[in-house]
Symmetry: C2
Subunit: 550 residues, 2 copies
């Protein structure tokens, strides 16, 4: 059986390679020793000048030119497809490749626009990449499990249907870790996804394929999923924007997943893009499609322009941000103060207790879930993300899996989590006494991880992201800068999260993290996606203004 | 220990009796052989003519006169309190009684109105009764458990706070069954609640105290909870209106409960009243208070006048109702057709499978939950609701409790339930092809139970209500008529839900059910409370018009 699964996995990988048009295979790939390959798509020679211009465009420009017909969907989809295939060859970010099908759909959209003069929907002609879990009819969603190879989806996921109705062109699917429960991206079928800014570093996970792909502008908008940081960690590590919406705001029905039936801290789908406009267009289009008529778990809550206009947040004037303090947020603080906003320290409340409840909920049935799937093929469960030739070794599993947990015990953990959420809500409301705005803190600015993208296998701490999953707060990642070898010297530090963290710290030198993006999260409240998008625009603009000045 | 719990329970009951003002204790109570005591509050002599007029008023009138100051809150609260105490003496519907405290709050409200000329909020001065679970600071919420006696609540439930801020006066708490997981109302501490229309019949449960109290106009608006029908069954059996809102629409935080931490088919709080206006005023007031700022599980979804105006339902003209067929819905069908609406048959989809998933979820940890609480005092878990002197005997538990269920097994049940919800949503959407309105069915009209209120101990089938909990559809109960001995003769029937159902059928004669109310549910979609209220008004008006004609 051990041989069998390897053969099946290799077959799938060969199929994938064969699905790439030969003329898009490059012979001038940089050697593995070249770590920063972020500029390669621009210089590789595969894309024409116009294709480079298209793929460099922001989302507003793309949608406007697609809607006017200035750029056909076939042209735009081809440009992004070529760039995605370049990205694949240098970071291994894709799973499913289906060029003909995507271009056929693009041609239909072009035809429709030509005939009727009207767009099909708000995302007319825009190619959109999908994390491997998101079903596209007739295409595999094997999720890195050998067991699920050659089981093409019988129908589209609800989100796929909605995106297609909105005029989008799903065109590639992207890589994930086995089980989805790792903050890195590696599996037995498709292998490992690398960070475009430094290939010795992880792209993050579990939506690591999306992070690398979007970062290289191989896709204008990608869709990831996030149960403990899986949209935000790759967004941060790869220097893109990414939103973790709240439970049920984006329809999840019809996707494959791990740990299905776990209702207490569910995974959510969310967009990744190189600008906030990409995120806003995606969210508005999806919500305007009334997903609750297709997915029973999608919340019946219309897109609210009122909430986007920040009516509950003083119309966006003189906001007060709470900063969850960590190294490197000085830049953000200064930019916000310069823009006329207020910044206070955010006092974390019982974060370690909240982490434990999440691990308790997930761990209650995780191992049985993993074993059930992998037993079908005999493939081993991956116990470390550390590559075989890595210098820093590691002990394996990044969250503790319990066994033999009863349903009643699980309920006790869930009850405790609910009580902690209640306390946290009061804690947030109570900041009304210190903001001076008459309102509680409008949003929290938080690190996304305790470090920039670490070397493969060493991303062992998702606490800065999973805290907001546990509380179900909407959170949007914004890139701030990159690790600068001159500035980012090692600072003295006495406390460590765990042994890996300590080993990582001790092995640190700015060279290791060279070029790695540095990001923050703007964290708002439950089902407040519109306001979080608007406040993120405010933070992003403040940062851009600040950078332009310095 | 067996003696201990009985002594503690008896002590609590004696305290309750002592909390009734002596002058409200009646010496002219009807003998137990008088079954229909629904008219007794009007004739008992305790209430003045004005108090009778107040307690007979509809909710709109009450709120208008309270807001104008024509009736003070002290006057209105006193009137309802007296009537509630009468109800208590004939049906045993109350748990906690706190006259002084309620009247003190009413006096404050009167003072505020006098001083400022303004109401405190939209429910200014209105007494509201609360199911025993809903915490009121300083008062017990023992929920019929001996173990929880003399543990006064440390703070108000979020809903209690919101109601008080809206100007309401919480004034009594109401009776429930032990564990809350029975569709009848009996526990070791407070005993059994009887049906006001026929005391040999059950009031239903688990909000049976509310059902009996509101039905006797001892409270203008009461709050129950509903996990499988617990608001709707007592509303139907006692002839009142009652709404089961969807998960999270009404804040539950700060209440006591059974099976806490069970997140998959949660209980919800909902209003019971003698008119739909009472339900609407309650819902609008609670939602307008932004409960999501106090309860992390409350959905951030404002009250929508647009949805109340039925914009998604053709503005309420020419609706199409699907009737889930059962005896006795002919009246409703005729009334709706006469009012210009359309009626088609609703085809149930996999209802038995859905029931099983709910029983699987609840049963997974129920027994451990019950044992944990009852072990504290040694009180036995109640295994039947049949009184000792009953003619029809019964075997006990009404839903099967599993033991030794693992978290992973629970996830499988939850996954199955999610898939069934997905199928059901498609099933509903697909009715667009048969309604002729261009829309899917606007609402379903369904029975609330397979029978009118049965004799104590024999209510063993909650399928008509729990189906909508499993699907999380909003459902409002409307009274239609009462069992008429001349009309409601026994009809031939071959199929039975179970042995109890068969025994009940065979023991039937119109005399048994004499006077029992007959009701229907108007069932809408998830988080569509506004539309369900509006459509219920349409159904209710059609029924009233129809009755006026005949």
């Amino acid at each position: 059986m051990a041989t069998d699964w390897k053969i099946i996995a290799a077959g799938k990988k060969a199929q994938q390679q064969a699905s790439i048009p030969k003329e898009w295979l490059l012979s001038n790939l940089p050697p593995q020793s070249v770590l920063d390959i972020s500029g390669f798509p621009e210089t590789c020679g595969l894309l024409s000048d116009e294709e480079l211009q298209i793929t460099r465009s922001d989302t507003d420009t793309l949608l406007a030119k697609l809607a006017s017909g200035e750029w056909s969907s076939v042209k735009v989809t081809t440009a992004f497809y070529k760039r995605a295939i370049v990205a694949q060859q240098i970071t291994n970010c894709l799973t499913e490749i289906f060029v003909e099908r995507a271009l056929a759909r693009a041609a239909e959209l072009d035809e429709h626009l030509k005939k009727t003069g009207k767009v099909v929907g708000p995302l007319h002609g825009l190619p959109i990449s999908l994390k491997d879990q998101i079903n596209v009819k007739g295409i595999d969603s094997c999720m890195g499990y050998v067991s699920w190879i050659d089981k093409p989806a019988e129908s589209n996921a609800v989100l796929t249907d909605i995106l297609e109705s909105a005029g989008a062109v799903p065109f590639v699917k992207t890589n994930i870790p086995q089980t989805l429960m790792w903050p890195e991206t590696y599996n037995h079928v498709f292998g490992r996804t690398n960070n475009p800014y430094n290939r010795s570093l992880t792209s993050g996970g579990s939506s690591g394929g999306e992070g690398a792909l979007v970062s290289l502008r191989g896709s204008p908008v990608g869709v990831g999923s996030d149960i403990g940081g899986s949209v935000r960690i790759p967004s941060a590590f790869c220097g893109t924007y990414g939103l973790r919406p709240c439970y049920g705001r984006v329809p999840y029905a019809g996707c494959v997943n791990s740990m299905e039936g776990q209702d207490s801290v569910p995974s959510v789908l969310g967009p990744i893009s190189n600008d906030i406009a990409g995120i806003k267009h995606f969210m508005k289009a999806v919500i305007d499609a009334k997903p609750w008529l297709q997915d029973p778990l999608a919340v019946r809550k219309r897109w609210s322009e009122e909430e986007y206009n920040l009516v509950d947040h003083g119309n966006g004037k003189n906001l007060c941000f709470g900063i969850l303090w960590d190294d490197g947020l000085e830049t953000v603080k200064k930019a916000l103060l310069d823009a006329g906003h207020k910044v206070i320290d955010w006092k974390p409340l019982k974060h370690p207790e909240i982490y434990e409840t999440l691990r308790g909920v997930w761990g209650a049935g995780a191992e049985e879930d993993y074993r059930t799937v992998t037993a079908l093929s005999g493939e081993p469960i991956i116990s470390t993300m550390v590559p075989e030739d890595a210098i820093v070794k590691d002990s394996g599993e990044w969250f503790v899996v319990d066994t033999g947990v009863s349903a009643f015990q699980l309920w006790q953990t869930q009850k405790h989590k609910r009580d902690l959420r209640q306390e946290y809500l009061r804690h947030w409301e109570d900041t009304v006494s210190v903001t001076g705005t008459g309102r509680p803190v409008d949003a929290i600015i938080s690190p996304v991880a305790p470090y920039a993208a670490p070397p493969h296998g060493l991303n062992k701490n998702a606490n800065y992201t999973l805290i907001w999953n546990g509380l179900d707060y909407a959170a949007l990642v914004i890139p701030v800068s990159k690790v600068d070898q001159a500035l980012d010297v090692q600072r003295p530090r006495n406390q460590f999260y765990n042994d890996t963290d300590k080993a990582l710290y001790e092995s640190y030198n700015p060279e290791t993290f060279k070029n790695a993006p540095i990001s923050v999260q703007v964290v708002g409240r439950t089902l407040e996606e519109e306001a979080v998008i608007a406040m993120s625009e405010i933070v992003d603009n403040a940062l851009k203004t600040s950078k332009a000045k310095s």
